[in-house]
């Protein structure tokens, strides 16, 4: 999967670079922007239960149109409790690829380096999940006066899970200096397909974030530091 993802990214990059040379006209800097998500890096550094990164690339085709993609890998350990008591522990680990387009919503004439864009992505993730300690929910207090009865100290592991979704993206970018940009984006995903394990659900998906019971929506953010490799300026 990693190889497929990375080769797809490479292809996208090359095709985009060729297109950009062929199509370009306008008054702005056209090029390929590559970046890394600071939010995921910060979360990796600051929290015990998460590690991950995301690389992003976009290519300006027209003044108002960008081709965009993100590639990431995330590991997240979660525990569900009720009151003070543990119900179960889970962890998720996997990679994702998102690709699509962004349209320019707003760019001040005087500050060409500030951009507001809206876009869509199609996203794919392959991952595995692992159940740790499992306590069964039990409303009567006969089995155990406090807490919940332990069923398994180390639950099953599920390989080969996957999910696909579409994502609406709203993002801001601002030029810091030279061709370095800082950006933030808010993303609302809508789950299209998923392969869940038997007798458990995908409660978290790399790139999608938390999956809520009975809803197919997921919310995730990134905060990207990127470098614009200029190809054409006009």
């Amino acid at each position: 999967m990693h190889r497929i993802l990375s080769s797809t990214i490479k292809r996208l990059y090359i095709v985009g670079a060729l297109l950009s040379i062929a199509i370009l006209k306008g008054q702005t800097t056209y090029g390929v922007r590559v970046g890394a998500d600071l939010h995921r890096l910060a979360r990796t550094a600051l929290t015990e239960d998460y590690s991950g990164f995301e690389l992003s690339v976009d290519l300006r085709l027209k003044r108002t149109l960008f081709l965009s993609a993100e590639l990431g890998n995330e590991t997240f350990a979660d525990r569900e409790t009720l009151g003070d008591y543990l119900l179960y522990e889970t962890s998720y680990s996997g990679s994702y690829l998102k690709f699509g387009a962004d349209w320019l919503v707003y760019q001040p004439k005087t500050k060409e380096k500030n951009l507001v864009t809206a876009g869509v992505r199609y996203a794919l993730s392959t991952f595995s999940s692992d159940l740790g300690a499992i306590h069964v929910y039990d409303s009567n207090r006969i089995r155990q006066p406090e807490g919940f009865p332990l069923f398994s100290a180390d639950g099953p592991q599920f390989e080969g899970l996957n999910a696909s979704w579409i994502e609406g993206v709203f993002s801001f970018k601002t030029g810091l200096f030279n061709n370095v940009y800082l950006g933030a984006s808010l993303r609302l995903g809508f789950l299209l397909t998923e392969k869940s394990p038997d007798n458990f659900d995908n409660l978290w998906i790399p790139g999608f974030n938390k999956v809520t019971d009975g809803a197919r929506f997921g919310l995730n953010v990134n905060y990207t530091l990127s470098y614009l490799i200029p190809i054409l300026k006009k």
């Binding site: 939010h39 929910y137 659900d201 953010v221 905060y223």
Partner: protein, 155 residues
């Protein structure tokens, strides 16, 4: 500079949107094994056992001692498959010894509830000479929180 500050505030706001309150479990519960006592001569009718006591390894099981009831709920454990119970009733000297065999199973319910305890392959047999019980019927081999009674004892 103000713009960058605004961006930072936006970033923090975006990060917080993902937070939600803890859910409450309403979708399921662990199963209790329910045994119902019925009249041997009129099998549709519940019949109270006078002064029922249930013993497991010579100890009253889950406080069921000298109770006049027509059904009992046993909270079987997550890690035990074989139970040998002695069932006494006030009017009869000798106990009925019954063996209950189950396979505990965890069933996923929802994020908030996680897993609940259920039982499969329920079977019952008697070990003693018949005393006050005339027959035992397993109603369902699968035990969950909503399909009680699971065992009917006629007496």
């Amino acid at each position: 500079m103000l713009k960058r500050l605004r961006l930072a505030v936006l970033f923090i706001a975006l990060s917080l949107i993902g937070c939600e309150k803890d859910d409450i479990c309403v979708d399921g519960d662990s199963a209790l094994l329910q045994i119902e006592f019925r009249d041997a001569s009129n099998q549709e009718v519940a019949k109270t056992v006078p002064g029922l006591s249930v013993f497991l390894n010579d100890e009253a099981y889950q406080g069921i001692s000298s109770k006049s009831v027509s059904k009992i709920d046993l909270a079987l454990g997550a890690d035990q498959t074989l139970y040998v119970f002695d069932l006494f009733q006030a009017d009869v000297e000798t106990a009925e010894r019954i063996v209950i065999n189950v396979t505990p199973k965890m069933t996923y319910v929802s994020r908030a509830c996680g897993f609940v305890l259920e039982f499969e392959q329920l079977s019952v047999s008697t070990l003693s000479q018949p005393s006050w019980i005339s027959s035992i019927e397993v109603v369902t081999e699968f035990v969950n929180a909503t399909n009680a009674p699971h065992i009917v004892i006629y007496h």
